[in-house]
Amino acid sequence: MKMNPLYGLMAEFETTGDLLSAAQHAYSAGYRQIDAFTPFPVEGLAEAIGFHQTYVSLLCLGGGLAGCLGGFLLQYWPNVFGYPLNIGGKPYNSWPSFIPITFELTVLCAGLATVFGMLILNGLPTPYHPVFNAPRFELATNNRFFLCIKARDPMFDAQQTRQFLEGMKAHEVSEIES
């Protein structure tokens, strides 16, 4: 696979409104390999760049179910099969007393699945990423908003895309090396 020495074009904006409208324009112009970078979550931005899915909630549910089932079986098996204790003829499957641990393990496994699922789906940790080479990108964690159109987008053309971005209220448009 030939590596394009150019990663993409980065446009810097001063307000969220500018970024949102730019992202919407880019998406409706047909660009798909776009990403936006903001110092805080901006409502509507993910949809504007065409990103809808989130499997995080499914992972949370899966983790919770695993924790619940696992927690209950952890107590059920020893008390019913492994090492049952006959205490005054009381039932071996004393499920009310199994509830606290089952609940805690449900929450624990759901939480672990949510956090690690989110990190893995986001591909974090990524110590290096080409966008960090963009000039003034450290402002993405401060007070500036960035839109990036990647070079591997089928519609990408160095000249035309640059003109397209400059046409929107971008503060600065710059090239990013891979």
Partner: protein, 461 residues
């Protein structure tokens, strides 16, 4: 928005009175990040840190001596086999609950005033749980065998007693510590990225960069992040309730009069939130004073927290009333004696101090907005509530154990110096960790405050 608009000088016009006007994304980032990265460590910080560290060393000494000699160095005996260790455990865990409640529950309730207090409140939770978690291990006769409480495949072919609240505690507190840590760390990620990008020294850049995991603020990442954060909040809220319920089960499962009571779970949870918010108030007042954060932690925040204090204090007061009423209404002579003994017996001064600290003082003063918005008064009241809640745990544990069914078994509990040393030491652990936190990490959530500025501007524009 606020009916007392003229008193709160931070309000200018239509913005929420929870953020002083005139702030932009940059000023917020500057203000909070500079405390960590730019400002020289204050002399006050060094002084406080030294005192806390000294107390931590006291803890060290107390624990080493305990492990060498045994729990006889404490004042526990038969019948009072649980003393300071359990009192401190329940007190610290209770304090921790407020942080999670602020982070999780107020997020679900869409209360924007949580943004400026949730970071250090969550940190408080983590450190409180750390201080609490030692005590169940230390109070064992053979602490080096603590791992027997965990369900690991052992050579003896035995299992922990899953029907015991003490084992439930292990799972509950471990889960609580893990989820709190995850919640806190996830919340920190974007701010660690901010610090990474602003750090001037290479060491700081590398360390913050390592923990920031390469966060770059991508919209796709934010989308998943917000979903994860919301889910964690939804998980943490019932967790808070369940953890202190399980802790209360340590008492309710027993048959001792004064313990075997179904009001304990809600009463304990309300008490936990009561003492926790008192601690958050204490810390909030000190931090805003010494670090100049009045713009972010405004009088409205303190007012709101004081209202929560009032509400939970009323629930705790109801719990006391019901305990007393049911003790007489039940007709059981042991329960009646338990309550009369609390009020008139050898520990009566402790009981009445408790009533003064938890009910008489806060629940008569916090009704008035003037007091809720008076920083000095709130500081004093918050300290009084924390002392009162510690005394409450003491009264529950000790007075119920020292005189139960059989008069020939009655005894007295007198804490020894090692009891006090371990308690003071746990305070040292908490404070040391907290001082380190405020020195090296942003004590207010930067990205959430930016979001608040965004909302304020959006409402105005």
């Amino acid at each position: 928005m606020s009916p007392e608009g003229s008193e709160n000088a931070a309000v200018v016009e239509a913005g929420p009175p929870i953020l002083a006007p005139g702030h932009t994304y940059a000023t917020i980032t500057d203000k909070i990040a500079s405390i960590v990265l730019v400002q020289k460590t204050k002399r006050g910080w060094w002084f406080g840190f030294t005192v806390s560290f000294a107390l931590l060393m006291v803890l060290n000494l107390a624990i080493v001596y305990l492990l060498m000699v045994g729990v006889g160095i404490w004042g526990i005996n038969i019948p009072i086999a649980w003393g300071f260790a359990i009192v401190n455990f329940v007190w610290w865990i209770g304090i921790g609950h407020a942080g999670t409640l602020i982070s999780a529950f107020l997020l679900l309730m869409r209360q924007p005033w949580r943004q400026s207090i949730n970071r250090f409140a969550e940190a408080m939770t983590l450190f409180a749980v750390a201080s609490a978690g030692m005590f169940p291990m230390l109070h064992m006769g053979r602490p080096w065998l603590f791992y027997w409480l965990l369900p690991y495949p052992d050579t003896m072919g035995t299992w922990p007693q899953f029907r015991s609240p003490l084992v439930w505690d292990v799972f509950a507190v471990s889960t609580y510590a893990t989820i709190s840590l995850l919640f806190w760390f996830v919340g920190l990620l974007p701010d660690l990225a901010t610090l990474r990008d602003r750090a001037r020294r290479r060491v700081a850049q590398v360390i913050y960069g390592f923990f920031a995991l390469g966060w770059r603020g991508s919209a796709r990442h934010w989308h998943r992040y917000e979903m994860a954060y919301l889910l964690l909040a939804g998980l943490a809220t019932p967790l808070v309730i369940s953890v202190h319920t399980v802790v209360s089960f340590d008492f309710t499962i027993a048959v001792v009069p004064g313990w075997h009571s179904t009001i304990f779970p809600p009463y304990f949870v309300a008490g936990a939130i009561y003492s926790g918010f008192a601690m958050v108030l204490t810390l909030a007042i000190l931090l805003r004073q010494f670090y100049g954060l009045e713009d972010f932690v405004t009088l409205q925040h303190l007012d709101n927290m004081a209202k929560i204090l009032l509400a939970t204090g009323l629930i705790v007061a109801y719990g006391y009333m019901m305990e007393t009423f049911m003790a007489f209404y039940s007709g059981v002579p042991y329960d009646r004696y338990m309550i009369m003994n609390r009020m008139t017996g050898p520990y009566a001064p402790v009981y009445w101090t408790l009533i003064t600290c938890n009910i008489a003082i806060p629940l008569t003063t916090l009704w008035f907005a003037k007091i809720r918005r008076n920083v000095a008064a709130l500081f004093v009241i918050s300290l009084i509530v924390q002392v009162g809640m510690w005394l409450e745990r003491f009264v529950i544990v000790v007075t119920s154990l020292h005189r139960d069914f059989l008069p020939s078994s009655w005894g007295m509990y007198r804490p020894t110096n090692w009891d006090w040393a371990t308690f003071a030491g746990s305070l040292g652990l908490f404070l040391t960790l907290f001082y380190l936190f405020i020195r090296f990490l942003p004590m207010i959530s930067i990205f959430e405050m930016r979001g608040l500025v965004h909302e304020v501007n959006a409402k105005k524009g």
